[in-house]
Symmetry: C2
Subunit: 354 residues, 2 copies
């Protein structure tokens, strides 16, 4: 992790001692960085192919998986060789899943180019594609052999994507680190402007995520805390058909985290002041915090509940939520009655509409 | 493993304490057993769905994977729930792969209904589909929670499928158990006729495979011995377009094992008498042993070599073969020169044509 790391990609990746690397990228990121990355790998003796896919969440599909797997095989990537995911979370998830299943597993290098993927999806080994039934419902756990996060690449990231990634940075504070949340309140402008605060935020986020994943790689226990804001957030993404013009993942998470706080307040376990403080900070950073801010609306309460029930963090028919006792005090609540969620959402719908 | 085990399926599977089971089967096997299996599971309190696909190797496709994954999600199979593969190796591989990737892994029960799947594919955790580039090139390692092998189901198995499965039984003797090969020579008719020899052959085969897999689940070392006959065999399957009218997997393996023995003789490491004895026994059991026996032929030497090079047991561009010093004395030969293979295949082509 660091500023300018992409320049060292060839030597860092060559140290993995593979013979062949298939770079998987998209039509936005590829033209900017793929040729330079390929040249750097070739200089270090690797045989390189570049596979370019359309940008956007719709690319996390079965059809793209087939296309990437066949292209990786066509590139004669053998066991011990590499798939290099160059791009944001979509590329990381898709290329990572292909790496997990081609020849029942080849090695993976993540080169995340967005804030979101640098602080979240490139760490932890989750890979996958979307199903008609929901986001990331088909996939594999496949740890990367190497993650190269060049924070300088974020200098040209659109502001909306920067904000979306920042929601996940804030999440690490909300989960179990109130000091880091306070640091975010004081330093968020530096993160956006590319000062040393950015490197610090990325490093702290990766450390926080890795600490959770190391304890619970397969998500049988505490890893679920990383889903703070995601049960609501995924439902919103589903209901907006993963249409990034309406909602991107980080925006869904921002609204979802605020909902998790407000729901915790409604259940009487969290002080209202903490929920207000979270909402204030996310708003200040330019993120949405309310259902009403989703362009085109987000359906009825029943539609939201149905979208939630398809989330994979469901066990035995009961809903599992990450709730909070305050900032930095999240916990896993299993068997949350659907009636409580329904009442909360009805209240949200009535209060968030003018 | 045992005769009549399907009658106990409900209680055995219910012991896994899942709530929902999705039975994945094909149009041949489903009509015979799926309803009875579903009823038995429902009696034991499980919610059951049945997903039926076309029979045949062509079903091990990306499109089928999508169909099965979506149907399993539609059936609301959650983590901890079950996918039940009811059928031969195609169903086991396809449903097993779906179980590996739906929600990044749900539990799998294998109910193999062919000799081949009972003695080979249901044990060991390999799952996958075929790619344009070769067989089983996309997949996952996913161990079943339970394998139920009812040997009575083989009573109605077509003789050609019985023979194909028997090739894998013989393989376990050829790998490292000369006594078991001699037992096969003496008892093969009982295996085919459904006597106690069948149960013994299935049990011994599963034990032999499990012993290898336990030592090397991910195929970094000795598990490769299980591929005796498979480098040649897979190439033949590929070259005949997985057309079961021309060649089924076990037939390819039978020819491939004979080729492995003849290749070993040609390389001067195996006595010719052992190769002749293997060929004689497989012929006696009704299996093909020569390239010329493949209806429609099997292409040129170059086409065969090219098909072999796409096999996933390739490392660093060199061919890896399982060779033999005699019956029950197989070994892994890495870096076999392509020139040797070419010379051998040219010889095979000239001698096997009348």
């Amino acid at each position: 992790m660091g500023r300018g790391l992409l320049g060292e990609a060839g030597s860092r990746i060559a140290a993995l001692e593979a013979r062949t690397a298939a770079i998987v990228t998209d039509g936005h990121v590829g033209p900017l960085y793929a040729e330079a990355l390929a040249a750097s790998l070739q200089q270090h003796g690797l045989r390189v192919s570049i596979i370019t896919l359309p940008p956007g969440e719709a690319t996390k599909s079965y059809a793209s998986l087939e296309r990437v797997c066949d292209a990786v095989l066509e590139a004669k990537v053998e066991r011990g060789d590499l798939v290099v995911a160059l791009g944001g979370g979509v590329m990381g998830d898709l290329a990572g899943f292909a790496a997990a299943v081609v020849r029942r597993g080849v090695r993976l290098v993540q080169v995340p180019t967005t804030l979101l993927s640098q602080v979240d999806s490139s760490v932890g080994g989750k890979t996958g594609i979307n199903s008609l039934h929901g986001k990331n419902l088909v996939g594999a756990f496949h740890q990367p052999s190497l993650v190269l996060a060049d924070t300088a690449l974020l200098d040209t990231l659109p502001i909306r994507e920067m904000r979306a990634g920042y929601a996940e940075v804030v999440k690490y504070g909300l989960i179990d680190d109130p000091d880091f949340f306070a640091w975010c309140e004081a330093n968020w402008r530096g993160v956006f402007d590319g000062g040393p605060e950015r490197d610090e935020a990325v490093a702290q986020s990766c450390r926080a995520k890795a600490a959770v994943v190391v304890k619970d790689e397969r998500e049988d226990g505490d890893r679920a805390l990383l889903n703070l804001g995601h049960t609501f957030g995924h439902a919103l993404e589903r209901i907006t058909y993963y249409d990034s013009a309406r909602l991107v993942h980080g925006e869904g998470v921002a609204i979802g985290m605020c909902q998790a706080f407000r729901f915790s307040v409604a259940l009487g376990v969290c002080p209202p002041a903490d929920a207000e403080r979270v909402e204030a900070h996310l708003s200040e950073a330019g993120l949405p915090t309310r259902l009403a801010q989703v362009p085109g609306g987000c359906g009825t309460v029943d539609e939201l509940l149905d979208a939630m029930a398809q989330d994979k963090k469901v066990k035995g028919g009961a809903l599992t939520f990450i709730l909070v006792r305050g900032i930095g005090q999240s916990f896993i609540a299993r068997d949350v009655p659907v009636a409580s969620v329904r009442a909360f959402l009805q209240d949200e719908n009535s209060t968030s509409r003018p």
